[in-house]
Symmetry: C2
Subunit: 441 residues, 2 copies
């Protein structure tokens, strides 16, 4: 069976929900549905969740809460009517309004977008409605409780042939509502997929899948057809706009693949996120490119550094003392570089330099700013000859000077450091070299 | 002025010494000469120094010491006679024999090769003879004393217009003789160059200079025309057969260039070792290639490693606890590799692995053996685009798979890890790519 999460724009109005129904009915394995709240119907429209935040705010500050609530109510009534449903949504809306007026917590208020949408979609699909408050749990301090959730949700799903569980929220031991971070319906879907032991977790959105490069830099980048969790993590760490870590972890643990699909193009296979390498993976191409600006290199020089036991450890201790995480540590013979993000070192630079001098007595120390890092990621690189040649050939042809290379800890990621001014040129060059891409310039 | 050290084969017989005289007289700045003992005159011949070791050994073990001493005496007498000199070398030889019979230390015995050669060459050149025992000093424990040596030698040289100082030895406070390590005449020459504030330290040998690659791997590699101390150190660390560290340090400190010259081809400029980069250096070519087999990679994997303060430090602490120096530490997102030489880890592997598990709690840990490292060194790489492209393009064309890349701490060294079986192929490919080299296959 499949667990399907649908995003807000996939459920923004009755027409979208009709598309969703056709998608669900086209594959009878789509047994558990996790809906978001209705999203934007058009540019400039307001998402229900944002309206609910505004409503809560207006109640608190004595603003036009009635007006805002009417907008919210209007959208649900319209969806209900256009789909020809019987759910007495007005009754639910009235209760929510009362609860907020009597001081319900913000998490309760904003989670009602998913709750109400779940009620309507359950009726429309003929699926059982399961309130997330009864199957997703947080502790009294607000921390998510994975074990309790998995056990109880799994038992509950055994009693339901087909079910709708609203995304984004659960409940604390006292019964009050607690939400995940915003966009948390992705997390709810992953949790449900794990509890249901789904064969795949389908995440239906308004995008065609994950892109091989940032579309702000590369024009019309190709869609990633298949990506492993590890590759996704490498791209995501390096700035690619992909799913939230917390939305991947539950299915990653259970080795359930995630399929990113487009509600507006349901025939397209989208992006499949798989737990492991397969047999068809050593094709020499890359999976994606991502990168970030904003790094510096501290270059430490000391004669016979390599013969000095503990030298590297002392550099690391200086970083740790200053609460600084490092990115990379390229090393030559008498030289050691430490690559740090500007964010990590901000306000700590002079103390760190003092400490490196004190701990390591270097011969010299230089700081180079304005470094951008680019990760070229691909399980297809494993044991394929010529990947580095293609990569650095493309950068050379584009006139990009290489300031750092780090490859070797992982067989599927070459990290290249370039000047920030060359960042976009470099990304485009690498994309073109591996993805053909006459679109890419 | 120039300090000139001449190696054993440059001084093996009267003919060679005549060449040396012509060289010295062709440049009047060659004012301080540091000779080795006479070396091999032909394949299968025995160096004087080796004969002296055998003599000492034979005296101790009651072997044919008379026969060996006659060989030694014969060579000096022949040189003296062929050069038409007056030095009563027999008198000096007799004293040495007596000293050894009365229990002189081995350092005294073996240093007499340089001493006697110095006496003859000084007369032949018309230079003053300065016994190294009077100007090169060790402490009572046998450690070289650079400051005392520099001050006293400098004063002594002020009184000599032109001088010969035998290489290889000096004296301890009680007047007994102490030698440097074998090949130590290179060190003596460097010390003399520093004391004399020479403009250049000429090191005359029987080779045309330093080679760009190992001639056992690359056929007829080109000579390195100019190399900086740092490049030399990088190549030498990575296995290139160059001068002993101790022979470079004194002149490195004083920023005196070293010129490696060939006695048998004095017109050739040889290799110039210079303190610093010059203006003519950014030509995109490399200075040399060196490499070594015998490394392993410990690949450590842990989710969210980058977010974990002190993770790298804990890996380093595990190494330090086991008294292990590391070579490189390539890092990805959730992965960290530690490159170690087999020699460093021998007998310590299982304890190290246990400690990494205990200190760092990795998700997984794998060990890959059979790694060779190749250093492609060149100050000409600095700010030149396309060096990495050429390097990795050449490796790809030769079918070499790249297991590790480390560049960035130094602007003049790209370190590449390959399988040991690909080592020679890789060296040849890189040499050919940068040095043209139809000879190289």
């Amino acid at each position: 069976m499949k667990v399907c999460k649908f995003g807000g724009s996939s459920l923004a109005n009755a027409d979208q929900i009709k598309k969703v129904k056709r998608i669900i009915e086209s594959d009878e394995r789509r047994k558990v549905i996790v809906p978001s709240a209705p999203g934007k119907r058009f540019d400039g429209d307001i998402k229900i969740t944002d309206l609910l935040y505004s409503f809560q705010d207006a109640v608190r500050n004595n603003g036009d809460h009635e007006g805002i609530f009417e907008q919210i109510a209007g959208r649900y009534i319209e969806i209900r009517d256009e789909l020809g449903l019987k759910t007495e949504i007005e009754k639910y809306l009235e209760k929510i309004k009362k609860d907020v007026y009597s001081g319900a917590c913000e998490d309760y208020t904003v989670s009602r977008g998913e709750y109400l949408n779940g009620l309507l979609i359950a009726e429309y699909l003929g699926y059982e409605f399961i309130d997330a408050a009864d199957v997703v749990f947080f502790d009294a301090a607000g921390a998510y409780e994975p074990d309790k959730t998995r056990i109880i949700m799994r038992e509950r799903l055994k009693t339901a042939e087909r079910a709708v569980i609203p995304g984004f929220y659960g409940s604390k031991p006292d019964g009050t509502i607690k939400t995940f971070s915003r966009g948390g319906s992705d997390i709810s879907g992953a949790i449900a997929a794990r509890a249901a032991r789904a064969e795949v977790y389908e995440n239906w959105t308004d995008v065609p899948g994950f892109l091989m490069a940032d579309p702000k830099i590369v024009k019309n980048p190709k869609i990633i057809k298949k990506i492993t969790y590890k590759e996704l993590r490498e791209l995501s760490y390096m700035g690619a706009n992909v799913m939230h870590e917390d939305a991947i972890f539950p299915v990653f643990q259970a080795k359930i693949p995630i399929n990113i699909r487009n509600t507006n193009d349901p025939e397209s296979p989208g992006t499949m996120i798989v737990p492991h390498f397969g047999d068809d993976d050593g094709d020499g191409t890359i999976t994606g490119i991502a990168g970030k600006k904003g790094f510096i290199v501290i270059a430490i020089e000391k004669s016979n550094m390599n013969a000095e036991l503990g030298f590297g450890r002392r550099v690391m201790s200086a970083l740790e003392k200053n609460n600084i995480r490092f990115e990379h540590m390229p090393s030559g013979i008498d030289t050691l570089g430490v690559v740090l993000s500007n964010v990590e070192i901000e306000g700590k630079q002079s103390q760190l330099i003092d400490d490196i001098y004190a701990f390591c007595q270097p011969d010299s120390l230089e700081i180079f700013t304005g470094l951008a890092l680019i990760a070229t990621v691909g399980r297809g690189m494993r044991k394929r000859i010529g990947v580095a040649a293609k990569l650095f050939g493309a950068l050379a042809e584009s006139g990009v000077n290489i300031r750092m290379i780090d490859q070797g800890s992982s067989e599927m990621n070459i990290i290249t450091g370039v000047d920030e001014k060359d960042f976009e040129t470099a990304i485009r060059a690498v994309y073109n070299a591996f993805c053909g891409g006459e679109n890419a310039k």
